[in-house]
Symmetry: C3
Subunit: 287 residues, 3 copies
């Protein structure tokens, strides 16, 4: 499963099927949590499986997840019973401890859904504090950092630059890496500001995130672009690797390349860029 772009939609709006598919996201998350008002929770649960089935039928290879309400909410049990094999996975928001994930996995197993992908939302102070602990044990496949909820929980304020969440956002990426879990970057609430989305996504990629949450279809193309090596990056990476391999062949472990000393770690970063671009080709360049 690929997680470069993860697009959210309320689960009670199946009329959006085509709009969601056209966005070309790797994953669509049908939301039963914050995206759905109290009055519509039941309708959203009722619509979920058919909505998912239609998405998967029309969108070849598309991942379709449901975001349920968190373990401590009153909706958790009912949300769980709304899940079915039409989905590929489930998103557990506000994950705070290992037992949250263990409970979820047990229920999925009981319901014959043990092949589900599980994405954990880290978006509370306690979740950020415990993230390396609860990702240990392999119960989650992916994790996202939720900057808006985290800041609300901290009683803080969000800024355009996002320095106020740098510590938490870095900690989540690090924990994901040491636990071999896919790390997905925060949303950008201002969905009309493409420049902000690009900057925020670029920086998320710098931190080691491999994909990004999208709260509007128009953000999908921006996320895909930001988390895909550019033609220039790819060309530079290839040229660096050629020069580095020539150096190795002549016995050097370090080469000079365009004013930099290039050794193993920089060559590895270049190789990762080439690999990412190659994987893209394999995926057939879904728009």
């Amino acid at each position: 499963m690929r997680y470069r772009t993860v697009l959210f939609s309320p689960a009670n709006m199946p009329s959006r099927v085509n709009r969601l598919l056209e966005a070309g996201s790797d994953v669509v998350v049908l939301d039963l949590e914050d995206g759905v008002g109290l009055e519509q929770k039941a309708a959203a649960r009722a619509a979920l499986r058919d909505f998912a089935a239609e998405l998967r039928q029309k969108g070849a290879g598309l991942g379709v997840f449901a975001r349920i309400n968190d373990v401590r909410s009153e909706f958790y049990e009912e949300d769980l019973s709304a899940l079915g094999p039409e989905l590929n996975g489930v998103v557990l928001p506000k994950t705070e401890q290992a037992s949250d994930l263990a409970d979820l996995r047990r229920t999925l197993s009981e319901r014959g859904l043990s092949d589900f992908q599980v994405m954990a939302g880290v978006e509370t102070a306690l979740g950020v504090f415990n993230v390396a602990t609860f990702l240990d044990g392999g119960l989650a496949d992916a994790v996202y950092f939720g900057a808006e909820d985290f800041t609300a929980d901290m009683g803080g304020l969000r800024s355009r630059e996002g320095t106020e969440v740098l510590y938490a956002r870095s900690q989540v990426a690090l924990a994901a890496r040491i636990r071999s879990v896919v790390a997905i970057d925060q949303i950008v609430a201002d969905f009309e500001d493409d420049e902000l989305y690009r900057l925020d996504a670029r920086f998320g990629r710098s931190l080691g995130y491999v994909g990004k949450l999208c709260i509007h279809p128009r953000q999908v193309a921006l996320a895909r672009e930001a988390f895909t090596p550019t033609a220039r990056e790819l060309e530079d990476a290839r040229a660096l690797l050629v020069a580095f391999d020539e150096g190795l062949a002549s016995g050097a472990g370090v080469i000079r390349f365009r004013g930099q000393m290039i050794d193993e770690p920089l060559a590895k970063r270049a190789a990762a860029i080439v690999a990412l671009a190659a994987a893209d080709q394999t995926h057939g360049g879904r728009p």
Copy 2:
């Protein structure tokens, strides 16, 4: 007890009573530690209780604390014996481990001061490292991050932007949140630079701090302003909540509001701003 503004004064300067009161701080801390030279330590201890009594008598609702010297200093025992019921609480600087707070609480209890508020200073490398541990157990009510001492202990340098303490300052705010302890932000040493104070306070609020240390009476108004929602913030928050409630009423969990997608966490942040402003009214708008 409210901690939006916490003003320090040497304990040996009771002539400053009126100046301190006029500043209108929520808390005044009478300092026996760094603010008092060796030669004056005894005089400061001797003056402490009368100074505190006068402050509390004239300043209705004012919190008056003493900052004693740290547990590992030679002055700790004598400072403790100078405390009395004229004070509301005590500040323990350079807190580094749970036993520091346990020792303090035991002594307070023995001296009939078990209703004291305890504010822990986190301002050494070890203190920052251990903060989540020693705040577990409920022995402290509030915590401040001391950037100057921390940087001195690290052997680092302070900059105007403060990026060098972002990690530590973020870690202290996070630990305070998960342990339900009030978090108070660092000082600004340059007491003539109002612009710097405003920027630093605004960013402290972004990180989740609820108040700020003041080392000069003129900083109190700046801190109060920075940690109080502005009229514009309040108006925006109220408008957002009205729109969000209308959305909920019509079944939507997400609304569009001024170019943003607004869901539960953003609505929560708006509600927190309204609540903060309302609490302010209740406190009678002390100047």
Copy 3:
């Protein structure tokens, strides 16, 4: 041993002896790891001890280390057997857990090299996560943060500003401080950009690092300058201390000095600057 400047050179290039000595670094590290290609590993091991002997003979007081390959690499054992008493110490890259250092110390002891200095490289996600743990126990004397390897391991990207490694770089400095280990700052790969080196070094010093890695001889002078108090800094520090001492003599613990409130922590930082400059004089101002 002093670690203000730590200059790397491939171990298979003994012809560089004079160039390395002229740079005037505190420590030279002869690299068997990333700086040496596969084809030259054996030659580098063979050249190591003579290269080190010549450096130490001609460079009075110079520290000469070997960087071996990491514990999990295929070259580790052979690299260890290439070490000898001509060296002062060893650099263990990609340190991730306490047993990495314990294994190394045991082997050094068996080989009669128990007086070696050990410098641990922290440059993987797991290394950054575990750094405070594996530095506990006194098995390492110094530690460096390797931003390039760390970012490669995270799958991230490096920027000029380096915000993407702020969390990790801060965490390593903090862990080094609480474990009383010398902290050495990251490389700057772009060895022709002096301005970048200066900025990066200055910020490293702000975080508490006491020296910096150099990958080219020309970076040594830049690192030395950045990690040495300037004449202006020294003058300011001395003036501050004079004023502070006068304040203490008159019983004040806080003084006003050039628009700042100066108390103990700020005086300590000034004293540290004066001490650093004095130590420099003692070292005889090696160029």
